[in-house]
């Protein structure tokens, strides 16, 4: 009896020892972090078709760090930038940031497919992840996560801003979208809105990604004679389309409207071929930009001799939110960072924007822009028409209710 009891006791003691050791172990890592620099990971494309976008995102995030004096909690910040070439490698890179660089959080993820893959690592390793792109609904919807925050508006939110404009141009709509998650999201969201805005679909083409020649599609569009085209092409595919649209003499004939485009798509094709109405998260030449955003533009121009793209803004705001939340938390511990990101609020504009606590989506209006008739500046391609919503209430409504979103977030 005594012997058995002893055994039980020694077992309990041993278990307690293991538990203590593991707690100490955690503390050990935390202490190691407390002494040295604060490491923050970035995952942005360095090669392939996304490299240009990756560069602008990275410049934005790095500028946010520079503007903070390169320090957070009085300790120097060390940025570790890894590539985002495809979902698989992005996921591995996310793991490397956690295992090898021991980062306290990660900012990055431009593509929805990569973002979803990175989120699984963020959840497992309990590392906060701020996505600076990735518009697919499920990221803050059915796949939402306690550790993931997203700055970009979802596809349905952006389409809801665009479709009323589309129907004011004409009622016969032709869709040309990329045949993967993002394009399908656009198609689904706009079809749901068609009736509401009183428009009808006259044709649809779902184009494989990395299509070089659009002439056959353009001939089909000509034949269908739509009033307006709603597009869901991205990056190089979108630039190729615009170039050939112009080459085939269609530029001023049928208006083109789309969401989730970026300035570089247009800088790449040049003024001659640029046309259309678009929803963007941000535009540098917008009179409504805040003082902090003006400072971003100035600092960027000083450093790179050109204005920033909207991707720079996304990278910048994502990193700013993280740094400000770490400062507010007075800690680099992930649960603390997440808790303070949920409370983070930017009050520099007409009305505040913030990450919603129930789905971690940044609730903020986007801008509707139109390509200028005459482009005289190498970078200034757009006239800002208006914001997708004008008040805080309207904005909150546009992003949908908890029931619409379908995110049930597990606790930490």
């Amino acid at each position: 009896m005594l012997k058995r009891d002893l055994n039980r006791r020694s077992f309990m003691r041993a278990s307690a020892g293991v538990a203590a050791a593991s707690v100490l172990g955690v503390n050990g890592t935390a202490r190691a972090q407390a002494d040295g620099p604060v490491r923050i990971g970035m995952i942005y494309a360095k090669q392939g078709p996304g490299a240009s976008i990756g560069e602008y995102l990275q410049r934005g995030s790095s500028l946010a760090v520079e503007q903070a004096g390169g320090k957070v909690l009085g300790r120097p910040i060390e940025l570790v930038w890894l590539d985002e070439p495809n979902p698989q490698v992005s996921q591995q890179n996310m793991q490397r940031l956690v295992d090898e660089s021991k980062v306290v959080a990660v900012v990055g993820g431009n593509y929805s497919s990569s973002a979803l893959a990175m989120m699984s690592v963020a959840n497992r390793e309990k590392v906060p992840l701020i996505l600076t792109g990735a518009a697919a609904s499920e990221i803050t919807g059915k796949s939402c996560s306690k550790y993931t925050f997203r700055t970009q508006a979802t596809v349905p939110v952006q389409m809801a801003g665009l479709m009323p404009y589309v129907s004011s141009i004409g009622k016969k709509v032709y869709f040309i979208t990329a045949s993967y998650a993002f394009g399908q999201d656009i198609l689904r969201a706009s079809r749901a809105l068609l009736k509401q805005v009183g428009a009808a679909e006259v044709g649809v083409d779902e184009v494989p990604i990395n299509t070089a020649d659009y002439s056959s599609y353009i001939l089909k569009i000509r034949q269908a004679k739509p009033d307006v085209i709603v597009g869901g092409l991205v990056g190089g595919d979108f630039s190729n389309f615009l170039k050939q649209w112009n080459e085939m003499g269609m530029k001023d004939k049928i208006p083109y409207a789309a969401v989730a485009v970026t300035d570089t798509d247009f800088w790449d094709v040049g003024p001659q071929a640029s046309t259309g109405i678009y929803i963007k998260p941000w535009y540098y030449n917008n009179p409504k930009n805040t003082a902090a955003e003006q400072k971003l533009i100035e600092d960027f121009k000083k450093k790179y001799n050109q204005p920033p793209s909207d991707k720079t803004w996304s990278g910048w705001i994502g990193m700013r939110a993280l740094l400000e939340s770490i400062e507010a938390a007075k800690s680099t511990e992930s649960a603390q960072i997440v808790a303070h990101l949920e409370q983070w609020k930017n009050t520099e504009g007409e009305f505040p924007f913030f990450f919603r606590d129930f789905d971690h989506q940044l609730v903020r209006p986007a801008v509707i822009v139109q390509v200028k008739k005459q482009i005289t500046d190498k970078f200034d391609y757009f006239d800002v028409l208006k914001n997708t919503s004008a008040t805080a209430d309207e904005t909150a409504k546009a992003f949908g209710t908890k029931e619409d979103i379908g995110c049930s977030m597990p606790s930490l």
């Binding site: 083409d205 184009v207 080459e247 040049g270 001659q272």
Partner: protein, 289 residues
């Protein structure tokens, strides 16, 4: 309907011709050097970038210098790297040329930046041509003319000049050619340069149609490999026929069955490979048996 069909076929033809130029270069390099050049697409992109740079510096007429310049770069690459791959196992040349492709893309990004470069058709070729049922842009007609002229010139060079005869003989029996007192290494350098030059011509012609960006070759290289496989490795005639077939099949699939557009050329390749594994015009080459 007829007008759409004719226009689709004509546009497919232009696309096919650009692919043919890329494929012929690939095919010649393989046929004569025995090297499958994965970096071929990188020379295509380099052609577009050099053309853009020349256009910025000297205007449209200077663009014509881009292909020979890329050809010279290709020759330098042959002397320093490719030469070491002759007679080695094919896997080695695949790995080395793949690395070379990444290197050239990185160099392009380093020199010209990750952003794309705006490049539109020359003003003289702007606008569209409508002739009966046919609708095509003026620039695409010019592309058709330029590629046809290049391919005819190349065919004439290979078939009727003494240099062409040396090339063809060298591809069949290099030892005998050397025994006849011909400096084969120098010939092979020229062949690699020629292949790169053809890729660069395609790059220059595609630059006003496709976005000029460091990874622009990604969209063009796969069809080129498919064309080489369909036409038969090392066959000039095969590349031309297969290229046109791929272009037309792709554009007609987009018209009638858009969901299958990306798969159509692979389906064509699959069918041909089943019926004739060595490709349409592939011959039996004792060297590679």
């Amino acid at each position: 309907m007829l007008d759409t069909l004719v226009s689709q076929a004509a546009n497919g033809l232009v696309l096919g011709f650009i692919y043919v130029l890329i494929a012929v270069g690939l095919s010649i390099t393989f046929g004569l050097l025995g090297v499958i050049n994965f970096a071929h697409g990188a020379f295509f992109a380099l052609g577009a970038y050099v053309a853009w740079q020349l256009f910025q510096l000297f205007g449209w007429s200077a663009v014509i210098l881009a292909p020979p310049l890329v050809g010279l770069i290709g020759m330098a690459v042959e002397v320093t790297i490719i030469r070491r791959l002759y007679g080695k196992e094919p896997l080695l040349s695949l790995i080395v040329t793949f690395a070379l492709a990444l290197l050239i893309e990185a160099v392009i990004r380093y020199v010209w930046g990750a952003d794309g470069k705006p490049f539109n058709p020359p003003p003289a070729f702007a606008g569209i041509v409508e002739a009966g049922p046919l609708l095509i842009t003026r620039y695409r007609v010019a592309v058709l003319g330029a590629t046809t002229a290049t391919l005819l010139g190349l065919w004439g060079f290979l078939a009727f000049t003494p240099y062409g005869r040396i090339l063809r003989a060298g591809s069949r029996d290099p030892e005998m050619v050397e025994l006849l007192g011909i400096n084969l290494p120098r010939v092979l350098t020229a062949v690699f340069g020629l292949g790169c030059m053809l890729a660069a011509i395609a790059g220059v012609l595609a630059a006003p149609l496709w976005t000029v960006s460091p990874s622009m070759a990604a969209n063009a290289v796969m069809p080129a490999f498919v064309i080489v496989a369909i036409g038969g490795l090392g066959s000039f005639r095969g590349a031309v026929v297969a290229g046109l077939a791929v272009g037309i099949v792709t554009s007609l699939t987009i018209q009638f069955w858009p969901e299958a557009a990306a798969a159509s050329m692979y389906a064509l390749m699959f069918a041909i490979m089943l019926l004739r594994p060595r490709g349409l015009f592939g011959e039996r080459w004792e060297r590679f048996e």
